[in-house]
């Protein structure tokens, strides 16, 4: 990580990004902009999603078949591309969440004091 770290806001790393996108979409289908807003808001701005990573990530999830895209009308009558979870995506989300938990537990075990 070359740039100096902002103690308040962390760049979302691609591995976790997929996870959070899937989680976000598990709440309801959303367009790209909405996803970014949602993540920022829920993390109290601790996590920032770069558009440069978001859209490639969405493509990746589509390639894997975990997410599907559809052009729809937004509540404000504007046309936007909405993303939604597929059943495979839902299963993947469950796996990723448990894996993340296990990873965190393992790291905490190493880093715990004493």
């Amino acid at each position: 990580m070359p740039a100096p770290r902002d103690p308040l806001r962390a760049e979302l790393l691609p591995g976790t990004l997929d996870l959070l996108i899937l989680k976000t979409l598990s709440v309801q289908p959303m367009h790209g902009y909405g996803i970014a807003q949602h993540i920022g808001r829920l993390s109290a701005e601790a996590l920032r999603v770069e558009e440069g990573s978001l859209y490639p990530a969405l493509q990746r999830l589509r390639l894997k078949g975990w997410v599907k895209a559809e052009w729809k009308l937004s509540p404000t009558r504007r046309r936007a591309r909405y993303y939604a979870l597929t059943p495979a995506g839902r299963r993947r989300l469950a796996l990723e969440v448990s894996a993340f938990d296990r990873l965190v537990t393992a790291v905490r075990r190493v880093v715990r004091p004493a």
Partner: protein, 874 residues
């Protein structure tokens, strides 16, 4: 991996993708700008901020596209480096896998080179599919592939329209004079011979009519082998003269290295088709032809058969019952070797499969042990596809390493094979490892690598990739799925091994049966030597005097028990065959006259061979040329021509050396197997040497101790009598007996070797699986011990598992064996392909070996200390 299908769909809908993405980003920007305005920025600043947030659109689009494009090659090198690191970490595993693959792939490649040259590649002549061989065929006796009479050949040559060219050739021999007298075999060929084969000389020229003119020196074309061996490859040889025993010959050229139409010829000389040939009736030559364009072999066959019918009528005394067969030359050359080669190919295929199964098992064990590492990588985002690809690359790296070594071994092995000049393999000179073979090897390597790279992955489903994180590889039972798969692989190996072992056992016992067949003579302690008393120096009187002198001198040597002479030694020489007429019987209709082998033997021959005299007397010194003409026959003669009545005193007529010569039978000897140990004896007639002093003889010496020891003395003795006489084939009779079984012996040895290899590999595989299983179940074993299980129970646990795998393998293998051993065909002798004893022995042998493989893991299981394993839990 349906993502590949989606990638494909993306490729097809590229334009829509680009349009959609562009629109999406535009909308995103708009929404961001709107948000910014909502937060208080002026429209311009808001737009600017929004654009800045979206960032470099081109870069973003590129990144999005990259997702869909198939993986770059850089990943591959990363995979390879990772695979190499993995191999270095476990050198034992890697070495075992690579050695296994070297053996499997090397053997397969070597065999494929042979198969390719012998069976697949066309003969080394232009348009080889137009070449045919022509045989005579005696219908009543169903004697096919009979050699041809020059008379009939000349008639075919005159009348047939199906051939562009037809040629005849026969076996001849010359003696080279000089310090190293040598006897050479060659072919006398008609002037059309080289035209049929469209062959050109490597040096010099072919024969021309001047070579056969009266007074011209004998013209010779040398073979490449002879030229290199005896004349050092001297390119100035063309036009030079060669000293033979009786005359001087002139060398007109040298043929190319791959020109070996018959196989053992050292030279060619012209055979002028004189009209005198039309009077000679004997059959003794070979005929080859080149079909005319557009004419098939079947059509030529029909035409010649029609001509043969005409010949039956024109020459009834000679051609009744005879017809003609036209056979494509390619088929002729390879037909005999084909079944055995295919059988060996199957056997090597089995060994290769066993080897791959072993490597797959090794890798499966590794993978299962490394599940912790893989789980972390998976948790951190590596997709299952990526991991699978990485495992396939690992498999390929192993396959390439083993394959490269294997190909090297194959090249060395093939070179050695070609140098050995084994007669059993036709076209051996053409065998070599070339680009096509290498391509085949690469295919095998690639397939093997991917198969056992990915096979272990079958044991890892998506869920399993996740589990062990958090617990130290801890399962109480060990993944049953992994163990079951490995067990199945072992059963597969055992089944194949049983097949190979049973096949090898059958061929071994067949050879044993054959060798215990009574050949009609005692082959032990017999030294033999061929003599060629040719030329004017050895006129009839001189031949008789010389051979008598030779026999008495040799008989006087210490260590010699008996000495004899014959003109066609069993399992070595070819006796002449002709029709025999028993005078006391009514003449059979033409075409149905009985036929027998006609040989010449001296007074000591039958005693030396220990062939019993059954009736009457043998030859004595009084059976001279002035005395009445007598012969001795064998008991097959008595059975077949006289219905078992005593032949003594019977008179027969034999048309061989003299037309219509009538001789009286004075004795009956036991049958001797001449053609092969498995072929029953034909009726045979023996003339006394003193009445028919043949030029080409075999000397037979029964020694009191090892025959080889007497060889130098005999050689010296013969040279002492005539220095210019070439000493030919100074061999023991045993070596001829052994050589006659060569075409069974080599497949048997190879099959046995392969079976041995298969068993070793399978046993190693079984050991690996059981050792892993015990390791995985150590906690379970400890638990059982703690709960009071005895050593016997634990032992039964392990051995039970082992023998379950072996048992399934044996059952499957038994069925496979029963179905497949019939393909041994000709190699079997004296037993059925489903011989129960052999099968039982093979199965028993495997069980014993399996027992060894289970013994060590069982001991380890018994040593598991419950206290230790339980402590490790929690």
């Amino acid at each position: 991996m349906t993502s590949w299908l989606r990638r494909l769909a993306w490729l097809l809908g590229r334009r829509r993708f680009e349009a959609d993405l562009g629109e999406e980003l535009r909308i995103h920007e708009e929404m961001a700008a709107e948000q910014a305005r909502h937060e208080g920025l002026c429209p311009e600043a808001a737009g600017f901020a929004a654009r800045r947030r979206v960032g470099n659109r081109a870069q973003l689009a590129e990144a999005a596209r990259d997702v869909w494009r198939p993986a770059a090659l850089g990943d591959l090198s990363q995979d390879v480096r990772y695979a190499l690191r993995g191999l270095r970490r476990q050198p034992g595993h890697a070495a075992a896998a690579i050695i296994t693959l070297t053996l499997g792939i090397g053997a397969t490649t070597a065999l494929f080179s042979v198969l390719d040259a012998v069976l697949l590649r066309p003969l080394p002549y232009p348009d080889p599919d137009r070449l045919v061989q022509v045989w005579e065929h005696h219908r009543p006796r169903d004697r096919r592939e009979n050699v041809v009479s020059p008379l009939n050949y000349l008639v075919w040559h005159d009348r047939a329209r199906s051939f562009e060219a037809l040629a005849i050739h026969r076996s001849v021999g010359i003696s080279l004079a000089g310090d190293l007298p040598e006897q050479l075999t060659g072919r006398a060929v008609s002037s059309t011979f080289f035209a049929v084969l469209r062959a050109r000389p490597a040096l010099g020229r072919l024969f021309n009519p001047a070579d056969t003119a009266v007074g011209a020196p004998r013209a010779l074309l040398l073979s490449h082998g002879l030229w290199k061996r005896r004349f050092g490859g001297d390119s100035g040889i063309v036009g030079s003269t060669l000293e033979l025993r009786e005359e001087t010959a002139r060398i007109v050229g040298v043929m190319p290295e791959d020109f070996r139409p018959v196989g053992d010829e050292s030279y060619w000389e012209p055979w002028p088709m004189t009209s005198e040939l039309r009077t000679r009736r004997g059959r003794g030559a070979l005929v080859v032809g080149r079909l005319r364009d557009g004419v098939s072999a079947e059509a030529a066959d029909r035409e010649l058969k029609a001509i043969a019918t005409g010949l039956e009528l024109e020459y009834p005394d000679f051609n009744t019952g005879w017809t003609v067969d036209v056979v494509p030359l390619q088929h002729q050359v390879t037909a005999r070797a084909k079944p055995v080669l295919l059988l060996l190919a199957g056997a090597i295929g089995c060994v290769l499969l066993i080897a791959c199964a072993n490597v797959a098992n090794l890798k499966l064990g590794q993978v299962l042990a490394r599940r912790g590492e893989i789980a972390v990588r998976a948790a951190l985002g590596a997709s299952r596809g990526r991991i699978l690809r990485q495992m396939a690359v690992e498999g390929l790296v192993l396959a390439v390493a083993g394959g490269a070594l294997g190909v090297l071994a194959a090249v060395v092995g093939v070179k050695a094979l070609v140098r050995s000049e084994l007669r059993q393999i036709p076209r051996l000179a053409e065998v070599g490892v070339d680009i096509r073979i290498l391509g085949f090897a690469l295919l095998v390597i690639g397939a093997a690598g991917v198969v056992f790279g990915l096979a272990p992955a079958l044991g890892l489903r998506e869920g399993e990739l996740r589990q062990p994180l958090g617990r130290r590889g801890g399962e109480t039972g060990g993944a049953p799925g992994g163990r079951r798969l490995r067990g199945a692989l072992v059963s597969f190996q055992v089944a194949l091994s049983l097949m190979l072992l049973a096949g090898a056992g059958l061929t071994v016992r067949s050879l044993g049966n054959l060798l215990s067949q009574d050949p009609g003579f005692d082959a032990r302690n017999l030294l033999t030597m061929d003599l060629s008393l040719s030329g004017e120096a050895y006129a009839e009187e001189r031949r008789i005097a010389f051979s008598q002198e030779l026999v008495s001198r040799i008989a006087a040597l210490p260590g010699v028990a008996e000495v004899g002479l014959v003109n066609a030694l069993p399992l070595h020489g070819q006796p002449a065959g002709t029709r025999i007429r028993v005078l006391s019987r009514p003449a059979p209709p033409p075409g149905q006259e009985p036929v027998g082998d006609i040989s010449v033997a001296d007074t000591g021959y039958f005693r030396a061979m220990r062939t019993p005299l059954l009736e009457g007397r043998g030859f004595t010194a009084s059976d001279r040329s002035s005395a009445p003409n007598v012969v001795v026959v064998n008991s097959a003669f008595a059975r077949q021509l006289l219905d078992g009545t005593s032949p003594i005193g019977q008179r027969i007529q034999v048309n061989l050396w003299e037309p219509d010569s009538i001789v009286e039978i004075v004795g009956v000897v036991g049958d001797m197997r001449r053609v092969g140990l498995e072929v029953a004896a034909r009726p045979a007639v023996f003339y006394p040497y003193l009445q028919q002093p043949a030029r080409f003889l075999s000397l037979v010496i029964r020694t009191e101790s090892a025959p080889e020891e007497l060889a130098p003395t005999v050689r010296a003795l013969v040279s002492g009598l005539d220095r210019q006489l070439p000493i030919l084939n100074l061999e023991t009779m045993q070596s001829y007996v052994a050589a006659s079984t060569d075409d069974r012996r080599y497949p048997m040895l190879l099959l046995s070797l392969l079976a041995g290899l298969a068993v070793v590999l399978s046993v190693v595989g079984l050991y690996g699986v059981l050792a892993y299983s015990v390791g995985q179940r150590s906690r379970e074993i400890g638990l059982r011990r703690a709960l009071g299980a005895t050593g016997g129970t634990i032992a039964r646990l392990v051995t039970g598992e082992g023998f379950r795998f072996v048992g399934i393998g044996l059952a499957v293998g038994l069925v496979a064996t029963l179905l497949c051993t019939r393909f041994l065909g000709r190699l079997l002798y004296g037993l059925s392909p489903t011989d129960a004893v052999t099968l039982a022995l093979a199965a028993g042998g495997l069980l014993v070996m399996a027992g060894f493989a289970t013994w060590i893991p069982t001991r380890r299981a018994l040593r598991v200390d419950p206290a230790v394993t339980l402590r490790e839990d929690g």
